[in-house]
Symmetry: C2
């Protein structure tokens, strides 16, 4: 799956992920209304609204980008019905041949991590049958519990040829509170980065490891340092756009070959129609606004990589 | 809810949580068979089996303990259908007046943490209506992303009078890999513990904070140190029994008043019938074996507290 992701990045010439993180506020009124007419102002109504919203956006952008990253929290807030919308979204993106990165940030100890890994990336045995739960291609993982929290994910990834992105340095303002603390003279995120590189050696694709890292666009200097610490690691970079990151800040997350990073934008794409720059599309043509925002983001990143 | 939890601990005289972490292997054959006959060897069949298993155990133990802690990973591995079984379990435990600690170990940045908090502890607005997702009483939270990942949970807890248990020092063997790293001469888990104490001051119950901590039973020395760092924090202690912790190791997690900690056992209770000590109950009377194991655990902890 890492080889497929790299190939798709090359084919689209777009190291870009669209974050499918639908807040109900982003969903245009006509879609909300239709869903509520059918299912009421209920969890099911909300779930239907975000699913229809996602579907229209995916239909408009699937040919431009290699991957999408649904943020499961935005579905989980609507309970079981929200989880159904998440699963439908994963399956639909697969139909459109998109690589699906489940932004689930799970992480626990041994057998519990194994259960998360089975549910999101692997299979479970039920009597004599073998079933899949959510079946994403990649999942994000929180490393705070250490190797024996991460290894069960890697085991499942090996069996399934799937991958991970481990949180190393997150994009939020207070990420430094623990992640930047100096341990023997270097920040904790570097120690985590070194571990990611080592875990990654256990499960290599053709040029990149199946074990990737998350490093926020809002921390370009840290990205530069971590690029060196993790030479064969694909870096997933959140925080572009709405959180403040720009193409020129991101060049050091990439390797010299122009690969090595994949940049996520969520709100900046899926709620583009709410921005002044794309207001001309209006609420009715929200998915076209998303397509235009993806095109602009790709151009920004390509431009930055070409002129570095 | 923290006041209710403390009151229930006093009423039952049992600082004990039963971890409802059903692996399909734990579920006796007669329950599996009935579920598979009805729903097939499918995710739905598995979900039905773990739900029926939970229900029988809860019916047998609800009067002995103040709280249960379902581990969501064990449900999530069965996809959407598993999440339905999780929700049914939460609701059923509420009917039995048990405090429900959702062991979800979520944690993300700002608006995403807010969505998790809304989904597990709070409410979401859908049009003019207000709905609840999973509706647990407490949730476990991963602190790696720092204050702005944790604060949205605390905000929701304030509104709903609900609580958190933040991972400080986890029970697994490699928890030290990052958590024990020295930061300015003290281990990271202590730094996290200090933060938990400070976050806790923002949302106090009568005697304990709504913001609790997770410290593994397998690390009694660290528990002793953290008890001092977090004087008003209720400590959730996993790792009793199957992971190796025993009552005598745990006395220092408690305050002098015999309160201040609540000890979890999962496999040791719900799969008790598989242990030699409870084999006499057999597969048919698995829930009675669980009750006996709870009684033994309570006696062990009470005894240790009385003789310290």
């Amino acid at each position: 799956m890492i080889n497929k992701l790299i190939r798709k990045i090359q084919e689209t010439n777009a190291p870009v992920v669209v974050g499918l993180d639908p807040m109900l506020d982003y969903v245009p009124r006509q879609i909300q209304q239709k869903a509520f007419d059918e299912y009421g102002e209920t969890l099911r109504g909300a779930a239907e609204a975000i699913w229809q919203f996602n579907k229209e956006i995916v239909d408009r952008i699937y040919d431009l980008v290699p991957a999408v990253k649904p943020q499961i929290a935005m579905y989980e807030q609507f309970g079981v019905e929200g989880m159904e919308a998440y699963k439908k979204t994963v399956d639909y993106c697969h139909q459109r041949d998109l690589v699906v990165i489940g932004d689930v940030k799970r992480g626990d100890i041994g057998s519990t991590s194994a259960a998360y890994a089975a549910g999101h990336l692997g299979k479970v045995r039920v009597g004599g049958a073998v079933c899949s739960g959510f079946d994403e291609d990649f999942a994000t993982v929180n490393p705070y519990l250490g190797s024996d929290g991460v290894k069960p994910f890697i085991e499942v990834c090996k069996e399934e040829k799937k991958g991970l992105f481990i949180l190393v340095k997150t994009s939020n303002p207070s990420s430094g509170e623990f992640q930047d603390q100096l341990v023997s003279g270097k920040p904790l995120y570097e120690l985590v980065g070194e571990k990611v590189a080592r875990w990654g050696e256990e499960h290599m694709g053709d040029t990149y490891s199946y074990v990737g890292a998350v490093v926020g666009a809002t921390y370009p200097e840290q990205g530069k340092a971590l690029r060196k610490v993790m030479p064969n690691t694909l870096i997933l970079v959140p925080g572009y756009g709405a959180q403040g990151g720009r193409g020129k800040d991101l060049v050091h997350f990439f390797r010299e070959d122009g690969l090595g990073a994949i940049v996520n934008s969520s709100r900046g794409i899926i709620a583009a129609y709410k921005q002044e720059a794309y207001a001309r599309y209006g609420e009715e043509r929200f998915a076209e606004a998303s397509r235009a925002a993806v095109e602009d983001m790709i151009a920004d990143i390509r431009g930055a990589l070409e002129t570095r």
